[in-house]
Symmetry: D2
Subunit: 404 residues, 4 copies
């Protein structure tokens, strides 16, 4: 089975690839962080981690080994000895990386783009054609049964509403042909291309990607599963875990102020207000949909703090009122390595989407809700309930897998 990573040399992709290979080679202490390594998933016919083959698109000129060395200098996790033992695996991965598409990217992404990415295909249709050719070539060359495309590229800025052609599959196909899809951002083109190739597509970012109606519709037509949006790895995870407690106890949240600091490329990209908008909306929406109290004051800030690099730090202040009008507070500080939190979820999602595809599921996969800040087609934001959905799916799938 293949995993095609859009944003192939970004931190999340590198941690996923290098982590998977390190796991297979017995270089990690354990499978911590990998949800699908849990006993609830043991009976499923998931692709083995050792069988995963990686490739991807990348707009920058980079080498995985160097990028990982750079990551380690700033964040640790990949000491020299480990990198050395992964050398051949990383080189093989580099050989499967193709120039990415820049359409709709923000200024900081453009600044670092390679010359081949800058040249780009002339039109949206040409971009789709090239992506599809890259995907097909990867599948054929490596002899893969299935490929899952996962978008882990930088967040695209939200510059106004998306072009109307993204509202239906027919309109989108027409627009591609007629040259009127030129304002469609890359994330949508990747997703469309994946679906057209019959490959499941997962959007781990806040970009529109496979979440637009055109792609969703096409996925249903083609019998391909898709899912997104925006991996839930840190502060929002905590919010969707803690907020239901306040609801269950009928403690009224007066204010929930969330301050997120991060310093990696993601942080740099989000330093642009247009790019930040989508992310903030995702983070805030999850909370508000749980609390459902119009009087609650919420705020999400995402600040670029270069020295933190990949170590995302969130400081949240929750002010709430209980019985007798008592005003109380909860503060928390979360210090996590963003990519180490996200990478195993990328592996989980690819393995689960691949299995769902083989099981004949199509369109959005609501039982993958616990992995996302804004799960496609899912109202439920409570992490515990989302987890029950995932486990119920796994239990059902295990039952169906067992021979009679």
């Amino acid at each position: 089975m293949g995993i095609w990573l859009v944003g192939a040399h970004g931190n999340v992709a590198l941690c996923a690839v290098a982590g998977a290979r390190a796991l297979v080679r017995g270089l990690l202490p354990d499978e911590a962080g990998l949800v699908t390594a849990g006993p609830e998933f043991a009976g499923l016919d998931l692709a083995q981690v050792g069988d995963l083959v990686f490739g991807g698109h990348e707009v920058r000129a980079a080498r995985a080994a160097e990028a990982l060395g750079d990551f380690d200098r700033r964040n640790g996790l990949f000491p020299e000895g480990l990198r050395r033992r992964l050398g051949r695996d990383l080189a093989r991965y580099d050989a499967e990386v193709r120039p990415g598409i820049l359409r709709g990217a923000g200024p900081s992404v453009r600044d670092e783009a390679s010359s081949s990415a800058r040249r780009g295909p002339g039109t949206a249709a040409a971009a789709v054609a090239r992506i599809r050719a890259d995907l097909r070539s990867f599948r054929r060359r490596r002899g893969l049964d299935g490929v899952v495309v996962v978008n882990v590229a930088s967040t695209e800025p939200a510059n106004g509403p998306l072009p109307a052609c993204t509202r239906s599959a027919a309109a989108f196909a027409r627009a591609l042909r007629s040259g009127s899809a030129e304002r469609v951002p890359a994330s949508v083109l990747y997703a469309w291309a994946a679906v057209e190739e019959g490959m499941p597509c997962v959007n781990f970012t806040p970009s529109p990607g496979c979440g637009v109606p055109a792609v969703l519709e096409r996925a249903l037509e083609r019998g391909v599963p898709v899912m997104g949006r925006d991996g839930k790895t840190g502060e929002t995870l905590l919010k969707t875990v803690l907020a239901p407690m306040f609801v269950a106890r009928r403690l009224r949240v007066l204010s929930w102020e969330g301050y997120n600091m991060l310093g990696n490329r993601d942080g740099l990209v989000l330093d642009d207000p247009a790019a930040r908008r989508g992310k903030v909306a995702d983070k805030d929406g999850a909370l508000r949909r749980i609390l459902r109290d119009p009087e609650t004051h919420t705020r999400v800030r995402i600040d670029y703090v270069p020295s933190l690099d990949d170590w995302k730090t969130a400081m949240d202040f929750v002010h709430f009122r209980g019985f007798l009008g008592a005003r109380m507070s909860l503060t928390f500080t979360w210090q996590g390595c963003d990519s180490a939190l996200a990478a195993p979820l990328v592996l989980d999602l690819a393995r689960l989407a691949d299995l769902a595809h083989r099981r004949g599921e199509r369109g959005s996969l609501p039982w993958l809700a616990p992995f996302f800040k804004t799960p496609l087609g899912v109202e439920e934001q409570d992490f515990a309930r989302q987890t029950e959905m995932l486990l119920a799916w796994a239990a059902a799938a295990v039952r169906e897998t067992k021979p009679a």
Copy 2:
């Protein structure tokens, strides 16, 4: 319906009584903190808050109005104007308070005991008889359909194992008669008395109370519901909300250090290592049963910090490992008014236990698990799953309530 509070002039009892009356008189901003005021319970035949009649046992000599004034000076919540408007309600409550039983109490409780409590009934059997008489008299005098006994007294010190006679109803009844139950602590005597009177009994403290086999067995025989142990209001609530997230994401918790500071009588009583032992075991057990990782290092400290009084502050440090061996951390600080958090749950539990009694339920009530640190007869410690149990019970009860 009557609520009989063991520890009648303690902070929790006072906040429950004064809070209920303030609610009825429209003196509170809203019903925040009262779980049974939620829409999920709207269709149930619960006793109205306005119909609740309060009484209780107390080992100290106290007056509710004065105690509440004292509470307000140290903790706020009951300003003069509010106290004034509750004056008659509080006086009426005082009239229903009887001297409590000191058996098995710790030194700080003994030091403050009234002379009548100190005199006490001569034997355990006499104590049971007196408690029963007090309960019967309350029910009769106030013309109550049902009475629920809730223990909100100070934690009893755990001085070695409980007498063997608490292991079965028959042995206990025999021991009472033969005078060999003299080492049985008051919490058990109260619970036994309640059950013998056919009154549901809830243990909001870490004391043994209605959780000993003798009482549980008798409750089943008599068709009386009982439940405990130890209200889940703060740090343990957070632990049972957050720990499942680490499990669901397979993030390995390396260490979970919990520092609890409190300064009220509860804190003073818990400053005695023997009294603290039970509480620490309850708090730690809930966490360990969720994490199920023998390598996790956990610690619970409960420190007496007089200046905090009822404002319990918990500072927790969670160290965990994720993918790639990344070591990350979560810290939180919870600052809550202990009694304001506990009081509405006392009302909830009494209303629910009363309804369960009328519905014919008997013995421990596992669906009340989310209210307790160590729910009797329940393995599940995950707060979200416990909440599902509660809501499922409520939904079923609503369905049965509706006319065909």
Copy 3:
């Protein structure tokens, strides 16, 4: 001695007036928070707290007793009984409050202004004349030896540079006469008026006030002490206490991110970016002047969180690098009642400025540096060193006070 408060019914002014009177009447537990109550100041000829007479300007229509009741409902500190005992003192204070000047005020201040404040004097010169008349009348009517004017009004928005006429006393006097001072904000007019009346002037806010060259020059000419800017009561206090430690230990601060939440009128006014600019600059400048490391990343956010009201909460994250390149962190959370922190400093500053005046000091008073975020004419930002300056002044003044 008189204290004239600009912003007479704001939280800080009310807490200063009511606090001083409560202290005199023996209604407070102690003099906590009042610096000049310390033993180092015992030998000085400071005005007695009991001899302080209060008056002020206010742009809103308000009554002290009601405003204090409102403050108590939202923040505590002034329970009904205390307010009752201060009733006459507060009424007497109200009788000394005059309509304030709106020139240069932000939108939220204008919205709440009383009709008399809205009408206002027609010109800047008329405003100065009216302020002077109010000050003179207060001094004469109450038979005061000295009056100190303290600005505790809402922060004025910084809309571009101040008019050029504020750059010298002569130019300012000319501009007033010629009608070309109409864009000068109220804080400067108050300060100019005070100095012209020979009254010391203290600027507790980030507004320009007595810090403009025109006023400073006039103060030197008239032999009047002035001081400012912006009381140092919370997060900035901590910054100027903690930052010197990093310098002394040569720990390099990589990032210092400060998140300030507050919900009172101050917070509402600061929700306007123009008003916030000055405050943020003051808070950030103090830190940067201590660290003197151009590579340090600093950020100050001030967010309006209505539910907090006067309870200002600051959460700071400090990321620093030590020996061997080790990256470490310090986070702190400060939860303080803003007005209770500021009010005693207002009394301190008035008492000290009055004494300095009597001692013949003029112009800015650098030894008052520890009270301000941006002390006029003082480079030193290190709180400990500023405190040494204050104590050295006090020691010298005590020596001079003692008879030979």
Copy 4:
């Protein structure tokens, strides 16, 4: 100049030795954390870091390179490439390490002791003789002008009062001769031996060491400087920085609860209550001597949390009262690499003590106060004031150094 480290293969010693060599070889980003690298010390005739020669005593059998590899696996800071480049330096250091003395060590130190340390010299006098021989041999063999002995060994348990013979130099010399000094712990024997050899001695631990009267007296007789006790690197540093602020503002500290978590050998040793006692007293004493308020409730906990290893985490809660009786709070969390914080101070202290020796200073050096939790012979605990003492000494020394 030589630095002789008692506890030669402990984390602090290793970080000091490897750090100094890495600095000299240009392998560190900068001199962060090294106080004597500051401009205030530039004019002093301090030994160059490149001229420092290291040796020491160690009770375990260890190799520096391996120990450092082990440290890096658990704590980072010494990646493989860095260790490789320090290989020869570390081997040279190992060649200068001699078996240490176990007298008075706690159980966890004994458990890990090497066989040669276990055999030990038969008597206290023999131990002193061997230490002196080791020190002389180091000085002679490496041709050193001066040697400073720094104790960075594990804390010795405080088992009752020290033997009476430690109360004067004469009594101690007598006791050594007569065989009645057998209960004197190793830290004192090392210090005595150093002083007898005319070598300055610094006690970076809470053990008695050079702080006993016998050693202090001998140091004065021999003209040798000594200093201690217990390096101030983390929570206590913050306490002595923050507490003076509360005093300066007359904010009354009601409670100051300090929770220290650490997981290295130091933490393991301190898990023994007897060893912990001294450390807790040092940490608490510094705070209490600043606050001087008998009503302040203070608590210091030191908990062993293995997963943290060298990353010491302190969570402090400060409850204080200000004007109007307002109760406010400050909490902080400090996450520092203990050895990286301590190591540069070891280099600082050795360089400064060596210079003081050459300048003819003898006995305790009060101007080194800012480096210690309990500075010998110094009342002042305020870090800012202690720093002024250090800088004043440096300024004076610079003036004397300059040619006329």
